[in-house]
């Protein structure tokens, strides 16, 4: 099972690379959905990334804006399905 810190680092880097316009000082607790950085449509590609990267399947009903609102929450969600 991947290390939780390592996982958070990987997810944060992906979010920075894919969704942030420039280095915007993102942290593990930066609100992504409610903060407007990742919208509900982009969430689909983020979910897809997580499923491919960690070889899991996240049910749609669990992929809520609240569950995806920061990197820490996302990592916790992924850990549930590993």
């Amino acid at each position: 099972m991947p290390d939780s810190n390592e996982m958070k680092k990987t997810i944060l880097q992906y979010v920075i690379d894919e969704y942030a316009e420039e280095d915007s000082g993102l942290t593990y607790d930066t609100p992504l959905i409610s903060g407007g950085l990742v919208d509900s449509f982009s969430m689909v590609s983020l979910k897809r990334f997580l499923e491919l990267k960690y070889k899991i399947s996240i049910p749609d009903e669990r992929a809520t804006p609240e569950a995806f609102d920061n990197v820490t929450k996302i990592a916790n969600l992924v850990l549930e399905f590993l």
């Binding site: 420039e22 409610s34 897809r48």
Partner: protein, 568 residues
Amino acid sequence: MSNIGSYDNRLHDFSWKIAEQELGYRPGDTINIGWYCSDRICQLGKADKIALIWEGHDENSTRTYSFNDIRILSNTIGAFLRNLGIHDGDRVCLFMDKIPELYIGLLGILKIGAVVQPLFSAFGDESLFIRLENAGTKAILTTRQHAPKIQKILATLPDLQYIILVDDDGTKALKAKEIAFSLDRALPVEHLDVFPTKAESPSLLHYTSGTTGQPKGVKHVHYSLISQYLTAKWALDLQEDDLYWCTADPGWVTGTSYGIIGPWSLGITQCVKDSGFSAETWYRFIEKHKISMWYSAPTAIRSLMKAGDNLVKRFDLSSLRHLASVGEPLNAEAVVWSEKVIGKPFHDTYWQTETGSIMISNFPGMKIKPGSMGKVFPGLTAALLDPDTFEIITEVNKPGLIAFQFDWPARLRTYWKNEETFQKKFRNGWYLTGDRSTIDQDGYFWFIGRDDDVINTVGHLVSPFEVESALLEHKAVAESAVVAKPDEVNMEVVKAFITLKPGFVASDELELEIMNFIRKKLSPLAMPQEIEYVDTLPKTRSGKIMRRLLHAKEWGEDTGDLSTLEND
């Protein structure tokens, strides 16, 4: 008592002069939306009334602005632009999130007679380029976060002279054509000579997508105020003491017509929440600011339904007086749900970027038929036309094309640099909306769908052509076809069918790569939510891709006449 009173009575004695007189406008006068939404309200004795309550993602970041603040700050932005050499008729783009500068900037640009070009801040560089290039935009107001997208395409935009950063804090060096501007630090301009725009002077240029060709710039004029003022008053029922929340982004027409012009021309206090969607955040915002009139969209309402009824009960939403919806057809379940759970039904309204103002609505005080678009706004002449003959359909409940007599104040005047496409919107003297519906025995319209391949997702139109073209720019894609796929929450989402170039192998990783490619190039809305790899795409004998076959497959419909299908 609602503003409209009796809908039937209004039908009999209607004239747009009602709005003209209430606004103190006489034909031939100057009419400037920027002035009407700020200076005039102050002259009416409401200078100290709150015009805007703004809240960012952080709930403690609330800022309030009176109508006098809005007047002075829009003067300040107008004077700044004028000093840069921006003149009447120049196109000035607003490209930022829902921050106060967006709302105030719009009035400032209009006050100097320039044309506002609002663009959705999530647009990628290609979407941005197509629209800025077409408009010949001279200046763009944006923020540090979004400026890199402009820098990426700057070399290909010879008309663009200024990139104005409204949130520059001086910590980073300015790049090519960038200028720092801060509303907080700029010297307030008490008096500005407002440009004497006339009824037909251009005001806004909103871009919308069609089935074919690039996005079209919908040209509106200052006289649109007449429609926007009266529809905000009668259809949305905005009243003096209301705290109004329009959830639309001013990058789209609802966010300008009813997120700025309608409410402020009436001197109404409006609230803005600049954050992503979360059911809990939205309910808390309504409770905290005691929102009384709420104008939202079906996708948001369906997302709230999905969040559950128990969540609603945790908040005091008793301040809500009137609810309305726009963007896509509002399903009957959503109307019934809101009445049951929130205590008020959402009133569906129907209009388009091209119409500029509400055309069909469930009016306050009128019986709502859940699932219906409602009835025609007084003063408008609407009909359903036969799709083949373009003759008026008189039979009740028979589907037809929604058409209007082209005579209301907020109608588009043309498509920017595309008069030919504009002229194609007319048949037998009727303006065609491109939408289909039926009309029941009581005169209520019932939406059926688009008359073309345009995808309506979250209430925004996405052109399949634009997505297909962008897909072909990906190194792995040989051919592409894009259609709408039904979606429970968003009504429709984008689905792409692609064939791959030799040497590329279909995989989930490639699908994700292509999805992100389109998201960044065009926008998250345009990103295919699903990509299906196929060996060949269905084509006519002349080689044209038959989108309708793919569409029918997605919707479980009959594929219809296949006689023109290419026979391999």
